[in-house]
């Protein structure tokens, strides 16, 4: 019987929600939560252990978390490592990618995970780790687990796998050699010329060598005279007036707000709070300046390091929010920034 070890975050590990996101990694024998479903989907293999780690602990102390988990895995025999599924949970996705990559590199054991295409973990780790294309939330567990484990079963049985598109994972940018029947139509020369002819005729053709591209933007020019500049604060940390007047959603936000701070020296607890559902709000509710640093900006304004702070701060929630929605919201904010002659922007993320 082959052996599999699973990785879950604090939520799926049954420890608790955001208030437990700081928990340090630990390992238990057997299954917990989703690793039970993973165990059920495995053929001729079983989940022997499950590791649980808080998303914030992994995010903020990555090296420490990885080295402790490597220590836990040392001496344990296992044939595959399965993390997640992480769906659209950003920190969890990054954690799954981090630990899968470490297990592969340091222990030489294959690893697999699953997450939604909007999860930042995909972009960061798809080149290193087999990441199955997963759903947007835990309701998709029943679909995502069998898809991912079907692949694990094949690999463990020594069967041929079919590549990214056919199996359902994100392409890693790795090309495998395959043998085609020995005939003229299969030669690279013939295929290349056919592609070229299609291109000349303006027909659709499919390249065999996709060049991945990372979308970057040109660096904007630095502010020349900071002392006379206008600086604006933007946050994805969900800080809003206590009544949340714009009804910004706590996750997967499509709305944003701008809030007048012209007569404030700092953001007072009790007047502002966070509605972000992706982290424990206690610290931010006790002192919203830890997310939107109005107090520090005012100090720099008084000292003359900057000309002035733009009289509004802008807020939305960054968890589960798609890149498309985030782009649109930023584009909607820009006219207000331009109108006031803003020279530079500080965007704070949680």
């Amino acid at each position: 019987m082959k052996k599999v070890i699973c990785y879950l975050n604090q939520f799926f590990g049954g420890v608790g929600g955001e208030d437990k996101a700081d928990i340090e990694p630990y390992i238990v024998e057997g299954v917990v939560g989703p690793s039970m479903a993973i165990n059920g989907a495995l053929k001729d293999a079983e989940v022997t252990h499950t590791i649980v780690c808080g998303d914030n602990f992994m995010g903020s102390n990555t090296e420490e978390a990885v080295s402790r988990i490597m220590e836990m895995l040392k001496g344990k025999e296992f044939d595959f490592f399965v993390a997640g599924p992480a769906f659209r949970a950003g920190r969890y996705g990054v954690a799954c990618g981090t630990i899968c990559k470490a297990v592969q590199e340091k222990l030489g054991v294959p690893a697999v995970t699953s997450m939604n295409e909007e999860n930042p973990g995909v972009e960061m780790f798809k080149g290193d780790v087999v990441i199955f294309k997963g759903g947007d939330g835990a309701a998709k567990m029943r679909k995502d687990v069998p898809k991912m484990i079907g692949y694990v079963n094949k690999v463990l049985a020594g069967e041929q796998t079919l590549g990214a598109d056919a199996e359902g994972y994100f392409p890693r940018g790795i090309r495998h050699e395959i043998y085609l029947e020995d005939k003229r139509e299969n030669t690279a020369a013939y295929r290349g010329v056919q592609m070229l002819l299609k291109k000349i005729r303006g027909e659709e053709y499919k390249t065999e060598l996709v060049i991945p591209k990372k979308e970057t933007v040109p660096v904007a020019d630095a502010i020349k005279d900071l002392g006379s500049s206008v600086i604006a604060l933007v946050t994805t940390g969900g800080i809003v007036p206590i009544a949340n007047p714009d009804r910004i959603q706590s996750a997967s936000a499509t709305r944003w707000g701008r809030y007048d701070i012209s007569d404030m020296d700092r953001l007072d607890a009790g007047k502002f709070k966070t509605i972000h559902a992706g982290f424990d709000p206690a610290a931010a509710n006790a002192d919203p300046n830890v997310i939107v640093p109005v107090d520090a900006m005012r100090a720099y304004e008084r000292e003359g390091k900057i000309g002035r702070l733009h009289p509004y701060f802008y807020s939305t929630v960054g968890t589960g929010t798609t890149e498309a929605e985030a782009s649109r919201m930023a584009i909607e904010m820009i006219p207000y920034l331009k109108e006031d002659g803003v020279n530079g922007v500080i965007v704070g993320s949680t």
């Binding site: 933007v217 630095a222 997310i291 720099y300 922007v345």
Partner: protein, 79 residues
Amino acid sequence: MVKEFEKAGFPVVHMCNLVPVSTTVGANRIVPTISIPYPLGDPNTSPEEQWKLRYHRVGVALDALATPVTEQTVFKVKY
């Protein structure tokens, strides 16, 4: 959001805890923060320490806005 602001010509500094995510998404000026729930002030430390950290890192962010860069840059913080 950072990229849209930058496309519109504003220099932007991204203050975040998960620096690799910011780098992957494509922020050009990045200043690290200390955690996700409290980026700029650990409630387990004294108010003075929290203020020192926040004042320092916001200062680094402002300097970053005034620093010409040619590629993605993560600015160093002292505390």
